[in-house]
């Protein structure tokens, strides 16, 4: 109540059901308002007076887009690092970048660019045709982008669903299901690693081929140069390398006008001319002598190296084939595991496995479709670029359109630059989040020295690197994943630059036993210069947890539901 006015807080959420039955959340809002008619003389919606100052104040402290990194649900944090959440990680990092302004600028300039293109009419016979082609291509670009986005969301959802099923199988202790699922987890991670190795090997084979071909086709020239230098070194060709007489020695004789035998070397004398002639012939050789010697050894190495081109190529191809073979074997074992699971006489397991396989098929199908669309998009983008150039050339023909051409060029270059800036900002924020996540994770984790790095790659996939240098995100325990998620959220809030308090709902909700106590021990080290509010249930807040955290607890409240008054009371347990 402020100034005898009762203030009402209203929160709304707008949802809809999509054609395939999914619930989609569109908008969340909140507002503070009071009634103009204090006694609610009518129920008219017009009698509300909104108090925008609250919204403005909160927005000033913490903009809407990044609030979720300050007020978050601990129970759902674990979801962040499951397969298929790269989009969510990217989304979170993009929000922290606060690059909406750049996005708006790019959108505005793109609209302007299209508008300008539409205004080009009849400049030359070809302008209308090219403009029309660009319009059609731009439309297909937009369609393809939207299809790619839809497919990406579909893939992520299918990956989450698949992961949910696997989690159920991991916890199923009967009929060896747990072991089969563990083996599958390991095999899948191995197949991922193999795919990475195969990709690298493919590049290595190609790289070796290109560099090899360059030197093999240049072999004749290299050999000829080698032989030429060789003859000079051996003195077969004169003057030799390095020259028998140093040019400095001859220059000194000429400067002092006297030979070492005592003969005077006066201007124009025959003796002087003979020395000058000798100097002219060896001076250039002296200047390139060191270089030629260097080249002699380099070329010798190149010739030796590329004699082994075929055998090295065979060796690389053999390594590539071995990797493919290993992958095939592991894939075969994965199929066998799936068949075994389907053969278990428990309907639930059979259904789960069938469902999992259908999600896996969907993922595969969507990934293939997305790759195809991405390829098409690249082609369309390239064609747009070419057409834009053609259009500018056409406009150049008409001097009256000079201003328009300049505007188009400016728009195009600005869009390009803004996109580069956006990418650069996102990259640098991603690196900062990566660094901070690593710092927090290594500080919070109770196994000191067990992990050495955390990486967020260009595709926003996160990896946790063990002390031995292996990727181990997939094998983290629930408690470790919670620590990772808390570290990631802390990194996001810290990188955002806003110094707002952080609230975590049920921070230990999914954690049991020992890890819970370990996390509780680590929590006082978490976000040390930030006011931290934990909304914690009695199940989470055991006496050990409380003891482990007490050093950093300023105030403690209990929310107690009063059944008589149908209200929740806030009781202070411990004051600061």
């Amino acid at each position: 109540m402020i100034n005898n006015q009762i203030i009402f807080f209203e929160r709304t959420i707008c949802i809809s059901r999509s054609a395939d039955g999914r619930i989609e959340e569109h908008e969340k809002t909140w507002r503070a308002a009071y009634r103009i008619d204090k006694n609610w003389e009518s129920y008219s919606g017009l009698n509300w007076k909104e108090m925008t100052q609250f919204n403005n104040l909160v927005s000033h402290i913490l903009p809407k887009g990044i609030r979720s990194f300050f007020f978050f649900d601990g129970e759902r944090l674990d979801n962040f690092f499951r397969k298929g959440m790269e989009y969510e990680i990217k989304n979170a990092i993009m929000k922290v970048c606060q690059i909406e302004l750049l996005d708006r600028c790019i959108d505005h300039l793109t609209t302007k660019f299209k508008e300008l293109q539409r205004n080009i009419k009849g400049t030359t016979p070809d302008t209308d045709r090219i403009s029309k082609e660009i319009e059609i291509l731009s439309q297909s670009k937009e369609d393809l982008e939207s299809e790619i986005e839809k497919l990406s969301k579909k893939i992520e959802e299918a990956q989450r669903n698949k992961e949910d099923i696997e989690e159920k199988l991991r916890n199923y202790t009967r009929f060896n299901v747990q072991d089969l699922q563990s083996e599958r987890d390991w095999l899948e991670s191995e197949v991922d690693k193999l795919d990475e190795k195969i990709g690298k090997k493919e590049k290595e084979v190609k790289r070796h081929f290109i560099s090899g071909i360059i030197f093999l086709l240049g072999y004749d020239a290299l050999k000829k140069t080698y032989e030429l230098i060789d003859r000079k070194i051996k003195g077969v060709d004169q003057p030799p390398i390095p020259p028998d007489i140093k040019d400095k020695f001859l220059k000194d004789l000429l400067m002092h006008r006297r030979c070492i035998c005592g003969t005077e070397l006066s201007e124009g004398s025959l003796q002087r001319k003979a020395i000058e002639k000798l100097l002219n012939s060896i001076e250039p050789l002296s200047r390139i002598s060191d270089e030629a010697m260097d080249g002699y050894y380099k070329i010798s190495n190149i010739l030796d190296e590329y004699k082994r081109f075929t055998s090295k190529r065979k060796e690389l191809e053999e390594e590539y084939r071995e990797l493919i073979k290993e992958r095939k074997e592991k894939s075969q074992r994965l199929k066998e595991i799936s068949e075994k699971l389907k053969g278990i006489p428990v309907e639930e397991i059979q259904n789960l496995e069938n469902l999992r396989n259908s999600f896996e098929d969907e993922i595969r199908k969507c990934i293939a479709e997305r790759s195809q669309k991405e390829l098409q998009l690249k082609g369309v983008e390239d064609r747009i670029k070419i057409k834009n150039k053609e259009l500018l050339k056409e406009i150049e023909k008409d001097k009256k359109q000079r201003k328009l051409r300049l505007k188009l060029e400016l728009c195009e270059k600005s869009i390009e630059e803004l996109k580069n800036i956006k990418e650069e900002v996102a990259r640098s924020v991603r690196e900062e989040v990566e660094q901070k996540t690593k710092e927090y994770f290594l500080t919070l984790h109770w196994k000191k020295g067990a992990f050495k790095d955390i990486k967020i790659n260009d595709n926003y996939e996160i990896s946790v690197i063990s002390r031995l240098g292996t990727e181990c995100l997939g094998t983290l325990s629930a408690g470790e994943r919670q620590i990772l998620a808390l570290s990631f959220m802390a990194a996001l809030s810290s990188v955002s630059g806003f110094e707002a308090p952080v609230i975590i709902d049920t921070p230990l909700g999914r954690i049991s036993g020992e890890p819970k106590e370990k996390i509780a021990k680590s929590l006082p080290k978490y976000l040390q210069k930030t006011q931290l509010t934990l909304l914690i249930t009695d199940q989470e807040y055991t006496s050990t947890v409380r003891d482990n955290m007490k050093e950093r607890i300023g105030k403690e409240f209990e929310l107690r539901y009063n059944e008589d008054e149908i209200a929740t009371e806030i009781i202070e347990i411990r004051g600061g």
Binding site: L216, L217, Y219, D220, A221, T225
Partner: protein, 148 residues
Amino acid sequence: MVFSPEAVIRVEKKKREKEYEEISNSPHSPFRDALFKDIFLVAMVIGHHRGIRSPLKGPYHDLFRASVLNSNEEWLIKSIAIAEKGDLDVLLNEKEVLKIAEEYANAGILVLYDIIFGGAPGDPLKRIEAEAMEIIHTISRSEEDEQG
């Protein structure tokens, strides 16, 4: 002589926009995503191997700085100039060394483009490799002769 920092490798602007662009970007090209530097060197050695060289016609495009070449690549370019001139003195003239390389690449890029996109059946890499295989056999034969 390491190439000077300001030395650049040039190509014809038209060829940069068509042949180099398509060779490095087309999904049908085995050189997709390869560096322009590598495509240039392949074009140069193909040109040299086939003995075709053509002067550049303007406008030009600066493809890359010569200083990005590693020492092996640098010596390949120099060797082509030395082999061409039959004399080491060409090393004193950096411009001439680069000009010879540019002219071989200028002719070679059209051959490379034709190998990739000319519509001949089979893998383009295998065709380039076949060209190099003759050299490999020559090398092996000469090695055997030397040994005895």
